[in-house]
């Protein structure tokens, strides 16, 4: 999966415009990044990557790149 595809997955998850995210964005700058997005992210990792993210791990994510790096 390319970085662009991963970013598109995150955009769909956050219900924001396609191609609006880039890897350097800090999560505090991302629209719709809230407690419900965290839950949706945990679900997406479980379903699409068969990976269990703990809430503590999600809290350590600072940028979009931190998430993208785990999407494999």
């Amino acid at each position: 999966m390319t970085v662009k595809e991963k970013l598109n997955m995150l955009e769909d998850l956050l219900d924001i415009e396609r191609d609006s995210l880039n890897e350097d964005l800090g999560l505090d700058e991302v629209e719709n990044w809230d407690s419900m997005a965290v839950i949706a992210l945990i679900a997406m990792f479980d379903e699409s990557f068969e990976k269990v993210l703990t809430p503590a791990e999600v809290k350590k994510f600072k940028t979009i790149k931190d998430i993208v790096d785990q999407m494999e």
Binding site: M36, I39, I42, A43, E47, P55, V58
Partner: protein, 347 residues
């Protein structure tokens, strides 16, 4: 994993009473904003909830359910051997609500009565406990009452909990019946006990008596979610494998109604089509320990056929505590939903 088969016991009737009073999620737009409320509805599925009056306790709702159940079965109060009450919102810190209800229902002095403190897993533990004493002791009839008025102790400005909970009280009649059985599994992980907690109000945090937020329910949504989509399906898979139960051996799955997103995710993970999953959360909210019998009554209460169905019941949450039960039930055991504003004025 604690698993087993309990024999010669049957669920005879299930009744449920909810408060008349309805609250809509959309009515919270002034507090949390329209967008947040819509997102909340999309994720949780919760559109309305039945919320108890200030005077109305879990015991009051359970009492109404128990009365209609005893009437339906023609059970004389003196014929009931045990009353088990499971609630996290008891009438008093002391005594046990089961004792108050033993008196109120006119049960005999020879009736065993006690409370158990569990939430989302309450029904599974309750059925296991009631079935155990029938199966292993010389007792015939047990009344299991499971109810909560979870909206007591909720901070109305906490978006994680304010719109989530519905109130209700249920009564289940279990009786010794030759040839009937149920299979169960039960699990606990106290390591995460802080995930859902009311810190104050009891013995542990007496020194912080003036810190009001400590009296409110605190819930770590993402922690609970991770638990619900990992540990819970793993246990279900292992239980199903142990007893060789396939998806086609179950006609209806009744999960604790935590939130619609969890229900869908867990079902998908287990390969269960949503048509087999009973849903009540959209109209009743997260109804804590009573969610399983409430959802059964919602799904089958108006069904007059006497068809037997195979059910898998699964409760999971506060504790953390979880468990499942596989059993057969006649559809007609569920009475129609009762709506009430009654409460115990002598309390």
């Amino acid at each position: 994993m604690a698993t087993g088969i309990l024999r010669d016991v049957e669920i005879k009737v299930i009744a449920c009473a909810v408060p008349d009073n309805i609250k809509k999620s959309k009515d919270y737009t002034e507090v949390f904003g329209e967008e947040s409320v819509q997102k909340f509805i999309n994720m949780t599925g919760i559109k309305t909830r039945h919320v108890a009056l200030d005077e109305q306790c879990a015991s009051d709702l359970c009492y109404v359910a128990a009365k209609s159940l005893m009437e339906k079965l023609n059970w004389e109060p003196s014929s009931i051997d045990a009353l088990i009450m499971i609630t996290q919102t008891p009438d008093y810190a002391v005594p046990a609500t089961a004792c108050v209800l033993q008196h109120r229902l006119g049960l005999s002095e020879d009736c065993i009565a006690f409370d158990i403190n569990l939430g989302c897993s309450a029904y599974v533990y309750g059925v296991w406990q009631a079935a155990t004493i029938i199966s292993t002791q010389d007792l015939n009839r047990v009344l299991l009452l499971v109810g909560d008025t979870s909206n007591f102790g909720i901070n109305p400005y906490d978006s994680a909990t304010a719109m989530v909970f519905g109130d209700g009280g249920t009564a289940t009649a279990l009786e010794k019946t030759k040839g009937k059985e149920l299979k169960y599994f039960l699990k606990t992980n106290g390591n995460k006990f802080k995930s859902i907690i009311v810190p104050a109000g009891h013995a542990r945090s007496r020194s912080r008596i003036n810190n009001a937020p400590d009296y409110d329910l605190s819930m770590d949504g993402s922690e609970i979610f991770t638990f619900a989509i990992t540990d819970v399906p793993r246990s279900i898979k292992s239980f199903m494998k142990q007893y060789d139960i396939g998806v086609n051996d179950v006609d209806m799955y009744v999960f604790h109604q935590a939130n619609l997103f969890i229900l869908k995710h867990v079902s998908k993970k287990l390969g269960i089509p949503m048509e087999k999953v009973a849903v009540s959360i959209d109209r009743y909210g997260n109804t804590s320990g009573e969610s399983i019998p409430l959802t059964l009554v919602d799904a089958l209460g108006e069904d007059k056929s006497s068809e037997t169905i195979r059910l898998f019941l699964c409760g999971f949450g506060v504790g953390l505590s979880w468990g499942g039960i596989y059993l057969e039930l006649d559809k007609s055991v569920c009475l129609p939903m009762i709506y009430t504003n009654d409460y115990f004025k002598e309390g």
